[in-house]
């Protein structure tokens, strides 16, 4: 517990510094907000184009898919706020040997590497995404029960855990493939598939997204909670997948870190 408290103090200090730094670049906020709105509109138009030619995508109606799209945008916001500037920087640190400076600190290295930076402006993406989901939810005309709201909160947390685990896994490969600097592009590529409910894909791709690269658990499941498609069994499974993904990525991180020999080693 003492370790946890200390970690939280460290985190607060880091993020406070970040916040002060970012306040100097308020112009970036407007630019990033406009960018997010633009891409959200493009994404919604893409869905609208599909729905010109079909009444449903994998059993989901237009507004159901938009609920999912908002969740996708919120998760992408989490990635841009915390993961890309933090653990996404790991391959560079490994290559340059800057990781030395992390390892000598009296905090857990994975914790520090993961949460060292906060690009606060991109939090707007999270807010905007959830707002789109909320609006689309109202359009579906459904009423939400307390259990569904709790299920959404839990499965959204699971989604963040799975996305985080995928990043830790991909970035840990940097310890083996030091020359590969664009590992994050692999995430961007695969995460694109999470824009649509997993049931909208043909069997082979669906298998890939559920079992091999578990992005099905990131957007489809929380959106299912909001659109009345989630049963208790599936919610339990989702929680198990989230915990398993975190555990596996922690294990991989430990194995990978053993390979680190600093720059030139």
């Amino acid at each position: 517990m003492k370790r946890f408290t200390r970690a939280m103090i460290v985190l607060r200090a880091f993020w406070q510094l970040n916040w002060l730094e970012e306040l100097q670049y308020r112009g970036n906020f407007v630019a990033s907000l406009l960018g997010t709105i633009f891409w959200l509109v493009m994404a919604m138009l893409t869905v609208a184009l599909y729905f010109r030619h079909t009444p449903q995508l994998g059993g989901w109606g237009y507004w159901d898919v938009v609920v999912l799209l908002g969740i996708f945008n919120a998760l992408a916001g989490v990635v841009e706020t915390v993961l890309r500037p933090g653990i996404g920087h790991l391959p560079t640190d490994v290559r340059s040997g800057a990781l030395d400076l992390v390892l000598v600190r009296p905090v857990d290295a994975q914790f520090y590497v993961s949460f060292r930076r906060l690009d606060v402006w991109r939090l707007a993406d999270v807010v905007l995404g959830l707002a789109v989901s909320g609006y689309a939810f109202v359009q579906t005309g459904r009423a939400i029960s307390a259990w569904e709201l709790i299920a959404f909160a839990v499965t959204f947390a699971v989604a963040i855990a799975v996305v985080y685990a995928i990043w830790v896994t991909l970035m840990s490969f940097a310890f083996w493939f030091v020359a590969v600097e664009n590992m994050a592009a692999l995430f961007d590529a695969v995460f694109e598939a999470a824009r649509y409910p997993v049931s909208a894909y043909p069997g082979a791709l669906r298998f890939l997204f559920v079992y091999l690269i578990p992005i099905a658990w990131t957007t489809t499941i929380p959106a299912s909670a909001l659109t009345g498609r989630l049963n208790p069994a599936l919610a339990t499974w989702a929680a198990a997948v989230g915990i398993a993904a975190l555990g596996a990525s922690r294990l991989l991180w430990r194995v990978a870190l053993k390979r680190y020999t600093s720059a030139g080693g």
């Binding site: 600097e181 694109e192 598939a193």
Partner: protein, 276 residues
């Protein structure tokens, strides 16, 4: 070796180009693992689109596109997109911001030639990889086979080269706006977003709302992707369609070349004034 004075300018230029290509190719070879990742990144968008359209077309053809038709179309998109990608704006942005443009300006050859050599050295092998994948896939999956028509394939190659040239000049000229603004890459992203629809990246143009498809015809977007892809898939058939397509490519190539020349000449002067 002959003294430099007796060499024709063309021979010098040719040798410089050969050297630029060689060094670009060697750099790429060094980064082959990263390039493999960029290749995966490049093909996921068409694969996802194909996945969705494949499901939509389960109940029958969508405006003339069967499942097999979509498969051929998006394999074509993956190939043509790889051959026509444009990333130069980001390089220019960095060069200008970090001062790397300066030493490039002192060279006897304009920086655009370095970029062209880079593009050719990168795209020739990577597009060949995608083409090879397509050929292998077609051995097992009849849906993605396209009929063997040497004449059509030759025209497709010409259209792809023209498309690559237009998209390159378009990206390069837009990127050069970095001489004036720090948000030039945002303009490239804006065009990239619009090209989702107007170039036919997300769906064949004939599936767009007619008014949107009509607007696209007056812009360069269809000529840099949709037109070459539709030659490959066989959607372009009449000589009138060919004529319109190639004429569109020629016009937009001329326009973006002219825009590049204007932006480059003025931008260089502007840059000198700021840094001087």
């Amino acid at each position: 070796m002959s003294p430099a004075s007796s060499r024709t300018p063309f021979a010098t230029f040719r040798d410089q180009y050969a050297e630029l290509m060689r060094s670009a190719f060697l750099v790429d070879l060094q980064y082959r693992a990263s390039i493999a990742i960029w290749l995966i990144w490049g093909v996921t968008e068409p694969i996802i689109s194909l996945g969705i359209w494949w499901s939509i077309a389960a109940g029958g053809a969508v405006d003339g596109y069967t499942r097999e038709g979509f498969a051929r179309y998006f394999f074509g998109v993956a190939l043509v997109n790889q051959a026509t990608l444009s990333w130069d704006a980001w390089n220019i942005d960095r060069w200008i911001r970090e001062g790397e443009m300066n030493h490039r300006l002192t060279r006897p050859i304009a920086p655009i030639h370095e970029a062209i050599a880079d593009n050719v050295a990168y795209k020739t092998p990577t597009a060949t990889i995608i083409l090879t994948m397509w050929i292998i896939a077609s051995l097992f999956w009849p849906a993605v086979r396209i009929p063997f028509e040497p004449g059509r394939w030759s025209l497709a190659i010409i259209a792809i080269v023209l498309a690559a040239a237009i998209r390159f000049l378009n990206g390069y000229a837009t990127g050069l706006l970095a001489f004036w603004t720090t948000r030039a890459t945002a303009l490239v992203e804006l065009q990239f977003g619009l090209s989702l629809f107007l170039s036919g990246r997300i769906a064949p143009l004939s599936l767009l709302p007619p008014r949107v498809a009509h607007v696209a015809e007056y812009l360069w977007f269809p000529y840099v992707l949709s037109f070459p892809v539709e030659i490959l898939t066989g959607a372009v058939t009449t000589s009138e369609q060919y004529l319109r397509g190639f004429a569109g490519q020629a016009i937009w190539l001329a326009i973006w070349l002219a825009l590049y020349l204007v932006v480059w000449t003025r931008g260089r002067r502007h840059y000198g004034a700021v840094g001087g």
